[in-house]
Amino acid sequence: MIGRTGSKKRIIWLLTAVVLLAWGLPLGSSAANDPLSQVKNAVQEVLRILQDEQLLAPDMKEERKKQVEAVVDTMFDFAKMSKHALVGYWDERTPEERKRFESLFARLVKQRYIGKIDNYTGQEVVFKRQRVKGDRALIYTSLIDKGIEIPITYKLLKKEGEWRAFDMKIENVSLVANYRQDFSRIIKKDGFDGLIARMREKVAEVEADGK
C-alpha cells in the first residue's frame, strides 16, 4: 500500500517537474535577467577563448588577452567596483578624478586576475548556487585547480536590466575589500594624487613585464 501511494506520488511529482522544466527551459537559457546565466555565459566564454587552439600560438597572445578582457568588461561593473573600493573618499572626488581612478583600477584588477591565463591548464568551474533578492545577487562557484577546490563568490547588482558583478571573493578574500585597505593607506599618507601616481607606476610596471 505504502509503496503504491509512494510511487504514485513520485509520478505526479515527476510530471510536475517535467512541466516546470518545459516552461522554465526556454526562459532560463535565453533570459539575460537571470544573474546565474549571465555569470555562467561569461565564464563559459572565457573558458572557450582559453581553449581555442588558434589563439594558443605565441603571436596570438595579445589577441587572446584582448578577447578575455572584452568578456570581463561585460561581466564586471568597474564604476561600481571603484565606488566600493574608495568608500569614504569617493564623494569628494570630481567626475574626472573618478574616471581616471576607474580606468587605472580596472587595469590593475585585470592584471591581477587575468595575469594567469597564460598558464591555463584545464581548470574547471562548478556553479554551486545563486541567491537573488531584488536587484542584488550572490553566485557561489568553485574553481577546481589541480585537484583543489577554490571557492569563488560573485556579488552582483542589477543595473538597467543587466546583472553586473562588482566584487568577487576568492577563499573569502574580497577583491574590493583588499584593494580598499590598500588604497586608504596610500590616500592617508600621500593623498589622492599620490594614489593615482602609485597606481600608474604599478600598471606600467606590469605592462612592461608582460612584453
Binding site: K116, V125, K155, L157, K169, Q181
Partner: protein
C-alpha cells in the same frame, strides 16, 4: 647522526620517485574534463539559507544602502616594523632561492607527479585534521578524513593518489587546524605576525601551528633533529611552490603596498576558514 638521518630522508624520497616512475601517468587525475567546456552546474538545494548566514547574505537581505555591511575590519599589527623586515626577507627568499629551485624542480618532474607528492604530504597530516574536526564537533568530517586516509594509504598507494575522491566520491572536507579550532572556541586572532620563512600568521595561529606539529607524523620521524624537520618542511614547501609558481609574483606586482595587502588577505582568508564560509565539500551532483 644528523647526516645519517639525512641519508634516510634522501632514500625515502628516492623510493618515492621510483614508485612514481612505476605508476607513470599517475592515478592522481581522474577528473579529465573531456571535450566539453569544464563547467558543471550543481543541482544541490537552491535555498539552504542557514549555510550562508554570513556578511554576504546580510548584504543580500539588507534593504539599506548598498555600501552597508562592508567590513573595514583589520588585524592589529603593533610589530609592523619587525614584520616588514621579515616580509622583505621572505620576499627575497622566494625570488632568490625558492622560485629558482621550484622552477628547476617543476621542469624535472611532471605536474601529475608533483600533485601526487602533494597528496602524499596531505595524507600524512590526517591526524591534525581528524583531531581538529573532533574538537570542533564535526564528527562527520572527521569520519570522512579517516575513511579517506584508509583508502588513500592503501588503494591510493601511500597517499600518492586521491583514490578516495576519484573512486569513492569521498571529497576532502575543509581542512581544519588548531588555529581554526581556537577561533571556533571564541579566541580572537591576536596580533599579526610575519614569521621569517614560515610567513604570515597571528598569535592564535602560531599557537595552533605549534600544537598541530605534535600531531604531525613527520615531527616524530624527525625525532627532535631540527635539520631533518627543516628538510621535510622544505621538501613540502618546494613542491607546493612548484604548483603555484606565478601566484605570489602577480599578487605582489598588483598591490600598492604588498606587505599590508598580504596581511589583509591572510586575515580575511583565516576569518573565512574559522567561520567555514566556503561551500567546499558540497560537490557537484554527477
Amino acid at each position: 647522526m644528523g647526516t645519517g638521518n639525512g641519508k634516510i630522508a634522501a632514500g625515502c624520497l628516492l623510493l618515492l620517485l621510483l614508485i612514481l616512475a612505476a605508476v607513470d601517468d599517475g592515478p592522481c587525475f581522474a577528473n579529465e574534463a573531456g571535450g566539453d567546456l569544464p563547467i558543471v552546474l550543481s543541482s544541490s538545494g537552491q535555498d539552504d539559507e542557514a549555510e550562508f548566514a554570513d556578511e554576504d547574505e546580510a548584504w543580500l537581505m539588507d534593504d539599506e544602502g548598498e555600501m552597508d555591511g562592508e567590513s573595514q575590519a583589520s588585524i592589529a599589527d603593533p610589530l609592523e616594523s619587525l614584520n616588514r623586515i621579515f616580509f622583505r626577507f621572505n620576499d627575497r627568499l622566494y625570488f632568490w632561492v625558492v622560485k629558482p629551485m621550484a622552477t628547476v624542480y617543476a621542469n624535472i618532474l611532471a605536474e601529475d607527479i608533483r600533485i601526487c607528492i602533494r597528496n602524499f604530504f596531505s595524507n600524512l597530516s590526517v591526524p591534525v585534521r581528524v583531531v581538529n574536526n573532533i574538537l570542533q564537533g564535526k564528527m562527520n568530517a572527521s569520519g570522512i578524513e579517516l575513511a579517506r586516509f584508509a583508502v588513500n594509504s592503501t588503494v591510493g598507494i601511500v597517499g600518492l593518489a586521491d583514490a578516495a575522491k576519484d573512486g569513492f566520491g569521498l571529497a576532502p572536507p575543509p581542512e581544519e587546524d588548531l588555529g581554526q579550532t581556537l577561533g571556533v572556541y571564541g579566541i580572537g586572532p591576536g596580533i599579526y605576525l610575519n614569521w621569517p620563512v614560515l610567513g604570515p600568521s597571528t598569535t592564535r595561529d602560531t599557537v595552533g601551528m605549534v600544537g598541530d606539529a605534535f600531531l604531525e607524523p613527520l615531527t616524530y620521524v624527525a625525532d627532535g633533529r631540527l635539520e631533518t624537520a627543516a628538510a621535510f618542511y622544505a621538501a613540502e614547501e618546494l613542491n607546493h611552490a612548484s604548483l603555484t609558481l606565478g601566484d605570489y609574483e602577480l599578487f605582489i606586482k598588483t598591490s600598492l603596498d604588498p606587505y599590508s595587502a598580504m596581511r589583509d588577505v591572510y586575515y580575511q582568508y583565516r576569518q573565512g576558514r574559522v567561520n567555514d564560509l566556503s561551500v567546499q565539500g558540497d560537490g557537484p551532483a554527477k
